[in-house]
């Protein structure tokens, strides 16, 4: 279904700033609807093979709407993030309204509503990892990727680092997820070696 690790598409993080929406509690005051803006003319995602893939999915569920999460994953795999026009396209192919789709997109934290770096790094800092030094891993990642802060993209467009809640690998503290690669037992010392593998 949606396991491809490739993160293609034209958009790279163009200084998306603190991309918001990934960490909630400290984000009060950000204006609503803080959605990234698409700069290039929109090209449809659901054409050719992608459309065929979606149509195969339709046969697995009794409603088209049930394909919303998988369809959004496809958009993100193609484009790296989910723009407003993409929301419109998904709504159209599934017979939903853009508002409904946007309500869903903003509920799930793994969907990006802003462009992100070529490699998207998620670090678990919830309690089990936290007591095992996850915050030090975060610091090392920020320092070595050049990302100014959590949620921001590095100036070279290579990385975006965010803190996430429990990745479900607490016995392998600290786990990080780079794109679709799940890496266990990360320590600050290992960060440099890991980053080297991502251009």
């Amino acid at each position: 279904m949606s396991t491809a690790g490739m993160r293609g598409g034209g958009e790279t993080g163009q200084g998306a700033g603190a991309a918001g929406a990934h960490r909630g509690v400290s984000e009060h005051g950000s204006a609503h609807g803080g959605h990234g803006t698409e700069t290039a003319p929109y090209e449809r995602v659901f054409r050719g093979e992608r459309l065929a893939q979606l149509e195969r999915l339709f046969t697995l569920y009794p409603t088209k709407q049930a394909c919303l999460l998988p369809a959004l994953w496809m958009v993100q795999e193609e484009r790296g993030w989910i723009s407003e026009p993409a929301i419109g396209e998904v709504a159209e192919v599934l017979g939903l309204t853009p508002a409904f789709v946007k309500g869903v997109v903003t509920f799930y934290t793994m969907y990006h509503t802003h462009p992100v770096g070529r490699h998207f790094i998620q670090v678990c800092t919830t309690t089990p990892c936290n007591i095992c030094g996850a915050e030090e891993v975060v610091k090392a990642l920020l320092a070595q990727t050049g990302c100014a802060e959590l949620g921001a993209t590095s100036p070279d467009g290579r990385f975006t680092v965010i803190e996430v809640e429990c990745l479900g690998a607490c016995g392998f503290a600290t786990p990080i997820l780079i794109d679709d690669d799940f890496i266990e037992n990360v320590t600050p010392e290992k960060v440099a070696g890991i980053l080297q593998r991502y251009e």
């Binding site: 609503h32 939903l96 309500g103 903003t106 509920f107």
Partner: protein, 535 residues
């Protein structure tokens, strides 16, 4: 099954309700309003505000009254310490980020947050160390602004658009305390029934641009009325401030419009406040119209009517009351009358989620009443009789220049009973000032032949009188006429003598939720007494 009754005790009061009734509705029937926000009788219940938690004997936890169905012998406590503490807790949390801007909020005075906090909230806040959440006001649609800071996320608006309007343009965006009501940037809240979200919003978060800062809720006088916008006959409240209509709002009637009105109807009130009204009877003397008193004007009208023979034409507004249409018709009883009622047409706009509720094409609230009284909606046919008629009565019809020209050229006598004087009718023998529907009591019959009463919401300008009064005085004969009807109710009772559909009915029979004509004793009338319409 609906007839199977279940008896429960709510705050000590026993009440029997049909099986399947929720605690919140059962409590209403016991005269107890369980505080609530997300629940609304015309929307599906999500049970998210958690304000209606009540204590149910033997249940381990407090139960949401809005979705918990009654069970035989159940003992419910709304006023228990546990339930009150839970409500106090909800209110405290709803207020932590609330701007407390009641002094500039249109909802103040009719705000359920304000009311319940006053009733049972904490006196002070414990959320004193932090800056409040702030988000700017958003423009949602032609008449709706969203003030996120006041929002309590009850989601009534989202559910209305999704489940009732069937056009889900609103959503809950984000989650946790970052959540807010969202709308897509390329969508507008411009559904023909969208304005209802303003009424549904229990706080001042969704507000009407039209009503923005127009009045404080406590300055308003509210009058039960019927929407004059179309043949649907939605029940409304006309809200006035200092005798000026400032807004129309839906008045619940489960049989007609549940809790809703359309935006066309909602905005269709400015004419009620028109300033260019005829304020005194005008009689034509030597080619000029001069103001006079009612005695003079009525004598003149009486002479005209009694002295006339042959044919007459009545050109009536579709907004004229049953009483006025009927008595004007009776006044011309001796003549051969062609009566036409004016029915402007527009687009039909149904409200998808409510059966038989729509803004109707026929924009005439009393079309059905007029037809019972012998008026025909064939306007052209009525106009075609004008040149041959001895008497032409214009009953507040809205005449185009061409129509006025036809009437002005007619050899017959022209009498205008109007809120305004159609200026082209220089030949009018009499121009008699009448009230508009907001200025009188009366009835309309809607498309389902439901007769419904409306009440006077503002005073009439100058010497204007209801048209039925004018006709009634003439019917009563020359000079002082004690037999003439003095009230709309009396005028209505005269109709039954001529038109069987109204026989035996009185205004008080009709009540404020209406009654189906044709003798069918409407079972809904009873159920409406225990007002499920209460929000």
């Amino acid at each position: 099954m609906a007839d199977e009754l279940v008896t429960v005790t709510i705050d000590g009061a026993p009440v029997s309700v049909p099986k399947g009734t929720t605690i919140i509705e059962a409590a209403k029937q016991a005269g107890i309003l369980v505080p609530h926000y997300c629940y609304h009788p015309s929307l599906p219940s999500p049970a998210v505000c958690r304000m209606c938690l009540v204590e149910v004997e033997k249940a381990p936890k407090l139960m949401p009254a809005c979705v918990t169905q009654v069970a035989e012998g159940q003992v419910v406590r709304v006023d228990s310490d546990k339930a009150k503490k839970a409500r106090e807790g909800v209110l405290e949390l709803l207020l932590i980020n609330h701007p407390l801007d009641c002094p500039i909020c249109d909802q103040a005075g009719e705000c359920e947050l304000q009311d319940y906090v006053f009733q049972e909230g904490r006196a002070g806040t414990r959320y004193s160390d932090y800056a409040k959440r702030y988000s700017p006001v958003e423009d949602f649609g032609p008449d709706v602004l969203y003030v996120p800071n006041r929002c309590i996320l009850c989601t009534r608006c989202v559910r209305f658009m999704e489940d009732v309007a069937d056009e889900p343009v609103l959503n809950v965006s984000e989650r946790g305390d970052r959540a807010y009501i969202g709308i897509s940037p390329d969508q507008r809240l411009d559904h023909p029934w969208a304005g209802n979200v303003v009424d549904l919003c229990p706080v001042g978060s969704l507000i009407s641009k039209d009503f923005l800062h127009k009045a404080r809720a406590w300055e308003l006088d509210k009058t039960a009325s019927v929407c004059p916008g179309c043949t649907q006959g939605c029940n409304i409240s006309i809200d006035t401030r200092d005798d000026v209509v400032v807004r129309l709002r839906p008045r619940p009637n489960l049989e007609v419009n549940r809790h809703f009105i359309c935006d066309y109807g909602r905005m269709n009130y400015r004419w009620m406040n028109r300033g260019d009204r005829v304020e005194a009877p005008l009689v034509r003397e030597s080619g000029r119209h001069v103001a006079t008193d009612w005695d003079t004007a009525l004598d003149r009208l009486g002479q005209l009517v009694r002295g006339m023979s042959g044919s007459a034409v009545i050109l009536a507004s579709g907004r004229a009351s049953t009483e006025s249409l009927g008595l004007v018709r009776l006044m011309l009883n001796r003549l051969s009358v062609t009566a036409a009622v004016q029915v402007p047409l527009g687009d039909e706009a149904p409200l998808a989620g409510i059966p038989d509720l729509a803004l109707r094409r026929e924009r005439a609230p009393n079309l059905a009443g007029a037809e019972i009284l012998g008026y025909r909606p064939d306007w052209a046919a009525g106009l075609s009789q004008v040149p041959a008629a001895g008497l032409i009565v214009v009953l507040d019809a809205d005449l185009s220049d061409a129509e006025q020209a036809i009437i002005a050229a007619a050899p017959g006598t022209v009498v205008v009973l109007g809120t305004v004087w159609p200026e082209g009718l220089k030949n009018a023998e009499l121009v008699l000032p009448i009230t508009n529907m907001a200025e009188e009591h009366g009835t309309y019959v809607n498309r389902d032949r439901r007769i419904q009463r409306y009440s006077q919401a503002k005073s009439q300008p100058g010497m204007a009188r209801p048209a039925w009064w004018v006709a009634g005085e003439v019917l009563g004969g020359p000079g002082p006429s004690p037999s003439a009807p003095a009230t709309a109710a009396q005028a209505f009772e005269l109709l039954g003598t001529r038109w069987p559909a109204f026989a035996g009915l009185t205004h008080s029979d009709i009540g404020y939720t209406g009654r189906l004509l044709d003798g069918s004793r409407d079972p809904s009338a009873e159920s409406q007494r225990v007002d499920m319409g209460v929000v």
